[in-house]
């Protein structure tokens, strides 16, 4: 009797135990069915490059309006120097690009994959620095710590630039390493993950030097500027425009610049060519012949107008479709498959020319200037004959070349590149010097700026609301659209 009872009890307990333990595994269904928890080097890299190109677009979209390359046709007050926070660019930078780069750097460090680490560091430097050129002091060292730090402090621009140079240098080192795991070219990788340079270490190294040159050059007005460093960097960067950092799209993933055309066509009016840029190209500002690039950059077949072409005047309200040149997909920069240019050989040579003139070396400057000019025109597909005719028409020689000539040609080549805004700020929008002839304030400009040109964009509202103390500390005194960033002071 007792035995049966004991057996029964044991049986019951075993059954209960069985039920309880299977309970654990029964409930183990919480792994996400559609998302991964373990990343991989190649797929993260593709995402980082994709986000970097998108960042390039988002920064350029606004920067080129301040340089009057483009202007809004919907009466947007941004062009009139009213409040601009560029919150989309800010969030794309932090929660998109830098966050994925952080993941890539951690993974690459863990796996000792130096090439991937180097690539990540280069991209990281490029856009961290670019962001600082727009907003000044920005958070970085305290970011990406998850729920350990909800309110990262702001690093100063000087600190950001130090980190940028460090990242570029370390990145170049890493890309050069021959003893590494998961090197770019290995049996498993066919390079297609690298949608920019197809896993070509050399190309990335050159691009890194190019960004270094660009960033060093921003400090041209300050005492820390070192011309030799800039020249060294330029020497190590691209050797022709075929090495430019360009992304090309396809008809599934189309160029974001093409998206502007679609917006314009469906009534969500966006931007088009600004009048200052067109006046440069059609020769009016400098009283020259029409630039052969005009027909390539802008689709001049659409408007007749007796050969007179204009753009939309910056700051003016509604568009005038009778006279304003609009983007079409016949424009070199705006087709579905058009390139998104992140860094060019042409820019390098223009920087070299600028540095050489300021050093008093006009001969070298002129050679660099011609190289830059030809590269840009060839890239755009201008015939050699037209190139030569244009050069003659400019009447610039190695004896009379001035900074104005260099910056004028650079201005044209920097269409759809945010760097143009850095240039124009360095030269104070032409105020008090000979550059940017006839460049004027936009129509109906924000009176609160008292005739000053815009020098930065403001911190986004989301940051002010969620990280308010640090933002207030970073803003400091006299914060506003005309407060210059550190290299602009």
């Amino acid at each position: 009797m007792k035995k049966i009872l004991i057996n029964k009890s044991i049986a019951v307990m075993l059954i209960l135990l069985g039920i309880l333990s299977s309970c654990e595994s029964f409930l183990d269904v919480n792994e996400h069915p559609n998302k991964q928890t373990i990343p991989s080097l190649t797929t993260l890299t593709t995402s980082c490059i994709e986000r970097a190109t998108n960042m390039n677009y988002l920064l350029t979209y606004y920067a080129n309006r301040y340089t009057q390359h483009t202007s809004s046709v919907s009466g947007s007050s941004t062009d009139q120097f009213y409040e601009n926070r560029m919150s989309t660019a800010w969030s794309n930078l932090y929660i998109g690009l830098l966050s994925d780069l952080n993941e890539l750097k951690i993974l690459a460090t863990e796996k000792k994959a130096s090439h991937f680490l180097g690539l990540a560091q280069v991209l990281n430097a490029a856009y961290l620095g670019a962001a600082s050129d727009f907003w000044g002091d920005i958070p970085y060292s305290e970011s990406f710590k998850g729920n350990e730090n909800f309110t990262p402090a702001f690093d100063t621009q000087t600190e950001i630039y130090e980190e940028v140079y460090r990242l570029l240098e370390t990145g170049i080192e890493n890309l050069k390493k021959t003893e590494t795991n998961f090197s770019f070219i290995e049996e498993n990788f066919d390079g297609s993950f690298d949608i920019l340079y197809q896993a070509n270490n050399e190309a990335w190294i050159k691009m890194a030097y190019a960004f270094k040159a660009r960033f060093l050059n921003h400090w041209s007005k300050t005492s820390s500027f070192d011309a030799e460093e800039v020249k060294t960097a330029i020497e190590n960067s691209f050797s022709s425009y075929t090495e430019d950092a360009d992304i090309f799209y396809n008809d599934v993933d189309r160029s974001p610049y093409y998206g502007i055309i679609l917006d314009n066509n469906t009534g969500n009016l966006s931007i088009t060519f600004a009048d200052y840029f067109i006046q440069i190209l059609n020769g009016n500002i400098y009283d020259k012949e029409i630039d052969p690039r005009l027909a390539i950059i802008a689709d001049t077949t659409v408007l007749e107008h007796n050969g007179v072409f204009t753009g939309h005047q910056s700051g003016s309200g509604d568009s005038n479709p009778e006279t304003d040149l609009f983007f079409t997909d016949n424009c070199w920069h705006f087709g579905q498959l058009a390139a998104n240019q992140m860094m060019t050989y042409s820019e390098m040579q223009f920087i070299l020319a600028e540095v050489e003139i300021n050093n008093g070396n006009k001969t070298n400057a002129f050679m660099a200037y011609e190289r830059a000019l030809r590269a840009n025109m060839q890239k755009l597909g201008v015939d050699d004959v037209d190139i030569e005719a244009y050069i003659v028409d400019t009447e610039v020689t190695d004896a009379n070349i001035t900074i104005e000539n260099v910056m004028k040609e650079k201005y044209i080549a920097m269409f759809l590149q945010y760097e143009a805004w850095n240039d124009i700020r360095r030269y104070d929008y032409g105020v008090g010097n000979e550059t940017y002839k006839n460049f004027e304030l936009p129509v109906d400009v924000n009176p609160e700026l008292n005739g000053e040109f815009i020098r930065r964009v403001l911190y986004p509202m989301s940051e002010k609301q969620r990280n308010g103390e640090n933002v207030t500390a970073a803003e400091g005194g006299n914060y506003g659209l005309i407060k210059r960033v550190t290299w602009d002071e």
Partner: protein, 1040 residues
């Protein structure tokens, strides 16, 4: 000898007389009424029954003094009287206290007498549902149930949303609707929007804005329902656990009754029409003029000369001056919607068991062309008493539902129609080649509804088996296994340009047209093993217990495939597209629960219930996935306990409860996740913006409820009042964090919400006579959801965003549903008043920095009054319903103002007539020295388009309404006529009208229709979805 015989005869005679006593009397009601047909019989000898005559008199012969007379009549309490020595027995009948002995279905299908409950439950009968005129069960509850807020999206097959006693989660994406249970099996009531956006070309923030999808409870055939119990507070739902933290709607379906087979047939036809439209101005033509232009002679508008942007704005010349006709495009667009609903059922039963078989078909054409919805159901259920200890039952219901949905939201027929100028005939939508005739930038709504289609096809099976076994006399073991399975196939086609050169649909302009095929599968299985024990410990003291185990398995997956850019024209299959995209979304969840419920009953007037439940959930971290929560309730019938019953107060009960319920986390949120995709034909992987949390805890709601239930005047008047307060803490919320952390949101348990409110239900049988009855039922409720706490880092949580800067957010000290917006910059005068600052162009500027509070989108109070009057065979019932105090952003009127089409833009005096000089002040360059405004508005267009449409004062308005929700007139054919047919046992015909009368200050369409469907927690915006209708219907009900 003769004397002896006489005495004996007399004795015998008198003995016989004594054995056959005739009793006479009169039966009246306590009102003094008399009814014929009241049955008087001798107890135990029903064959002796007689009935009262027209004056209530009766006469019956009894055999002895000890015989007991029984007086019975429907609707009244049966009375018994011993004959005794009386020969005249008059009796007064009292109305039956139906509500006292009423049995309601509570959680887990447990039947309880309503008097024994310590919390509020409200019941709706199946007949109330079918006579409401609504095709779905939630709509049928409108105006009848206290403590619930019901809102609708518009359009055929569009969803209806119900929230009981307020929202209790902070996350705007959280589910706040109650659990739906059918015959003990929880079923899905979700409204799934899916993902129907193309890769480029749509500005919609979410698909829920774009289509009116159905909530899944619409699959239920209302004719199958016997009754619905609405369990409102946590005390009522504690046994269901986490699923029912928002309350529960317990549905019991019909089953066969003992007796002969019953066949029931019901047929209904209804017609819907839009009767409330926004008022448009008819004076002004298309154009973009200013007051100075208006002073010049009008220039005839030639269509070919007009630049594209002038097409749909009406800031032009006077119609009269240029001879332009006015087309009433909006009103002409909506047609009459018609629906047919047929239902038949066969049921029967006996001692061995019963069965129920039904079939129904509903088909509906919407008021928007080319929109439909339909539902077909088949149900078979039955039970069998295997022996006196074992009983089994089972049921299977199959539903097929779906329709063709119209576009709402951005790029919908509504948004195009709000733009469309009254100067152009909208119905002329195709030219002789079939090409799209429209304005540039917008679609012709007729073309849109004819060319695009979103079709959904749902197949659903609900089934269960149930076995219960009386193990011992007081102990019942029962097991129920049920499944809810449905598949929802959606196909959405947006053609590109079909005729060469035509303007394609706006939606197709950036992608070449597209098709989306979505396949949703959902299956949930519940297993419940229960042990029920009842014992009478003493005569006065009873005890019952329920112990149970529940196992839940739920799986959901949605496969989405999209093809973009049509290759060849006019063939709309995914194979004919150039670019294909595909994604899959799965959710898996399992739960194990153990629960117990213990009840103590003392002397039929004191009832105490205690519940405890422990859940194990797969969605919480494994080391911490178990959580326990208790509840207790008490009911005390003080009229019984202290013997206080009187003619005035016939019943009185107080009740109170306390409960704690927990809600587990959504699935798959514990880890750091990466999402894969492709870019330029290369695989990419990106870190999710929202960070999960490996330390998630369940959300906890603690609620207390008290109430009082009183009956007066022999139960003719009933007053039931409840007060409740429920606090929810540790709510899961993806906290928006500074982007510079690398994340946009981080999931945490935070905050506290408090729901407080009252519910009042008054029922009265005002007149109860033989041929004339009048009953009234009033329900009244108030609920407020207060934000007590968020967390240290968060000052506010954004709930929703609308047009023109109007938004909703949750702030500490504010309420759920609070609305905010921006208005003009104002100058603070010395006397404290404010004046609008007007600039030199005659216009004010919007102060975009200061978000002002504009009230709450939830009503302050709601009330429904139902009157039911019956006279002979006719029953007239009407339900007035009101919601008061809610605010809404009137987006459709805003857009009409933006185009110069709304009546409020009509007044446009020219410059020479003095123009419009707005009331306000002009300031000097220091912003001081206000003087009354002297500047005239130069361009009306700029004022209306850019100022008024960003002014929350203009957009947010009170949306309170009173309406005649339902009016129905039913005729039940009397038995006299029916008995002649020898076949039909009941027949009735009824006319039903819904929304026959509406009174509201809200401009434009009926404010009851929300922009978002039932799946959204934001019901603060109107416009962009199909308008509400007035409905007329006729139905026949026959029982054989």
């Amino acid at each position: 000898m003769r004397k002896f015989l006489l005495i004996v005869t007399l004795l015998i005679f008198s003995m016989q007389m004594f054995a056959q006593i005739e009793i006479n009397g009169k039966v009246t009601t306590d009102d003094g009424d008399t009814f014929p047909g009241i049955t008087v019989s001798i107890e135990g000898k029903t064959a002796t029954a007689v009935v009262t005559d027209d004056e209530g008199n009766y006469s019956i012969v009894v055999n002895s003094e000890s015989d007991v007379l029984v007086f019975e009549y429907v609707g009244f309490q049966t009375q018994m009287q011993t004959v005794g020595t009386q020969t005249v027995i008059n009796v007064i009948l009292v109305v039956e206290s139906i509500l006292l002995d009423d049995v309601v279905i509570t959680a887990l299908g447990i039947k309880r007498e309503k008097k024994a409950l310590g919390y509020a439950v409200q019941e709706i009968s199946g007949e109330d549902i079918t006579s409401s005129g609504q095709a779905d069960i939630i709509g049928a509850m409108q105006g009848k149930v206290s403590g619930v807020n019901i809102t609708q999206a518009g359009g055929a097959g569009a969803s209806t949303r119900i929230v009981i006693r307020g929202a209790n989660s902070l996350d705007p994406g959280a589910e706040n609707q109650p659990l739906f249970v059918v015959d003990g099996i929880p079923i899905s009531n979700s409204t799934i929007s899916g993902d129907l956006s193309p890769s480029a070309g749509s500005n919609a923030t979410s698909t829920s804005e774009q289509f009116g999808f159905s909530n899944r409870a619409m699959d239920i055939n209302p004719n199958d329902i016997e009754s619905m119990s609405i369990l409102k507070g946590a005390a009522a739902t504690a046994l269901y656990g986490a699923r029912a933290a928002n309350g529960a709607v317990i549905i019991t379906t019909k089953s066969g009754k003992n007796g002969k087979t019953v066949i029931n047939y019901n047929s209904k036809i209804t017609i819907d029409e839009v009767v409330h439209f926004p008022e448009m101005q008819k004076t002004w033509e298309r154009g973009r003029l200013s007051t100075t232009d208006l002073d010049s002679p009008p220039v005839a508008i030639n269509e070919t000369e007009l630049p594209p942007y002038l097409y749909f704005e009406e800031f032009g010349y006077r119609r009269a001056d240029v001879g332009a006709k006015f087309y009433n495009n909006m009103e002409d667009f909506f047609k009459q919607g018609i629906s047919y609903n047929n239902s038949v059922s066969v049921s029967g039963g006996g001692e061995k068991g019963n069965y129920y078989l039904s079939a129904s078909s509903l088909s509906q054409e919407g008021i928007v062309p080319n929109t439909t919805w339909g539902r077909k159901t088949v149900k078979l259920s039955g039970s069998r008493n295997v022996n006196d200890k074992l009983k089994t039952s089972a049921s299977v219901t199959y539903t097929n539902s779906g329709g063709i949905r119209g576009n709402h939201g951005d790029k919908s027929y509504m948004s195009s129609m709000l733009y469309w100028s009254g100067s152009v005939d909208m119905s002329d939508y195709e030219d002789e080649n079939g090409a799209h005739v429209t304005h540039p930038y917008i679609d012709n709504p007729y073309y849109l509804v004819n060319k695009t289609s979103l079709e959904d096809d749902v197949n659903r099976v609900l089934g269960y088996v149930n076995v219960s076994c009386n193990i011992l006399e007081n102990l019942v073991l029962s097991y129920r296994l049920g499944t809810d399975y449905y598949s929802d196939a959606r196909t959405y086609i947006v053609p590109g340009a079909e005729v060469p050169g035509e303007q394609p649909l706006d939606l197709a302009s950036q992608n070449g047209g597209y098709i989306v095929e979505e396949r949703i599968n959902f299956m949930e299985t519940n297993s419940d093993l229960m042990l029920v024990y009842n014992v009478d410990i003493t005569d006065d003291f009873k005890f019952s217990a329920v112990l149970g185990n529940n196992v839940l398995d739920s799986r959901y997956d949605r496969l989405n495939t999209r093809g973009e850019n049509w290759a060849s024209p006019n063939f709309y299959d995914i194979s004919n597209t150039t670019n294909k995209y595909s994604s899959n979304s799965d959710i898996r969840k399992r739960m194990v629960g153990l629960y117990g419920n213990f009840r103590f009953e003392f002397k039929n007037y004191l009832f105490i219930g205690i519940t405890g439940r422990n859940d194990f959930s797969s969605t919480l971290p494994t080391e911490n996935n178990s959580y326990f929560y208790p509840a207790a309730n008490l009911g005390f019938i003080f009229t019984e306990a202290f013997d206080l019953k009187s003619n005035i107060l016939s019943y009185g009960k107080i009740r109170g409860s306390w409960a704690n319920v927990a809600k587990d986390a959504p699935a798959h949120r514990l880890e750091k996740l990466y999402s894969a995709g492709t870019f330029l034909n290369t695989a990419n992987l990106t870190l999710d913006n929202s960070l999960g949390n490996s330390n998630l805890k369940p959300e906890q709601t603690t609620s207390i409820e008290t109430g009082i239930d009183l009956r007066f005047f022999a139960n003719k008047l009933g007053i039931d009042f409840s007060w409740y307060k429920a606090n929810t803490v540790d709510m899961l919320f993806p906290i928006p964090v500074a982007n510079t952390t690398g994340y946009s949101t981080i999931l945490e348990n935070i905050g506290e919400l408090e729901n407080k409110g009252i519910e009042l239900l008054i029922t009265g049988k005002i007149i109860r006579k033989q041929n004339f009855n009048w009953e009234i039922s009033v329900n009244y409720s108030e609920n407020k959801t207060k934000v007590i706490e968020l967390n240290d880092e968060l000052e506010e949580i954004e709930l929703s965003n609308g047009l023109g800067g109007v938004h909703q957010k949750l702030v500490v000290g504010g309420y759920y549903g609070d609305m905010y917006g921006y208005t003009y910059k104002k100058y603070l005068n010395e006397d404290g008043s404010e004046s609008v600052i007007i600039n030199e162009d005659g216009r004010p500027t919007i102060d975009g920095d200061t978000a002002l509070y504009y009230g709450n989108s939830n009503p302050d109070w709601t009330c429904g009054i139902t009157n039911t009057i019956s006279y002979k065979g006719f029953t007239l019932s009407f339900l007035f319903e009101t919601k008061q105090g809610q605010m809404m952003s009137n987006e459709h009127v805003r857009n009409l103002i933006r185009q110069g089409k709304h009546i409020s833009t009509e007044y446009r005096p020219t410059a020479s007539e003095g123009g419009i000089i707005l009331e306000g002040v002009n300031l000097d360059e220091n912003g001081e020295n206000p003087v009354p405004n002297i500047y005239m508005i130069e361009r009306y267009r700029h004022y209306y388009k850019f100022r008024v449409t960003s002014d929350a004062d203009e957009m947010i308005e009170e949306a309170s309404w009173i309406r005649l929700r339902t009016l129905s007139l039913t005729y039940s054919v009397p038995q006299k006529i029916l008995s002649k047919t020898k076949l039909i046992t009941a027949a009735s015909f009824s006319f039903v009208g819904n929304n026959l009368w509406l009174s509201t200050e809200y401009r434009g369409f009926d404010p009851e229709i929300s922009k978002y469907g039932a799946g959204s927690n934001s019901q603060a915006y109107s416009g962009y979805s199909t308008p509400n209708t007035r409905r007329l219907g006729f139905s026949i009900n026959l029982t054989f």
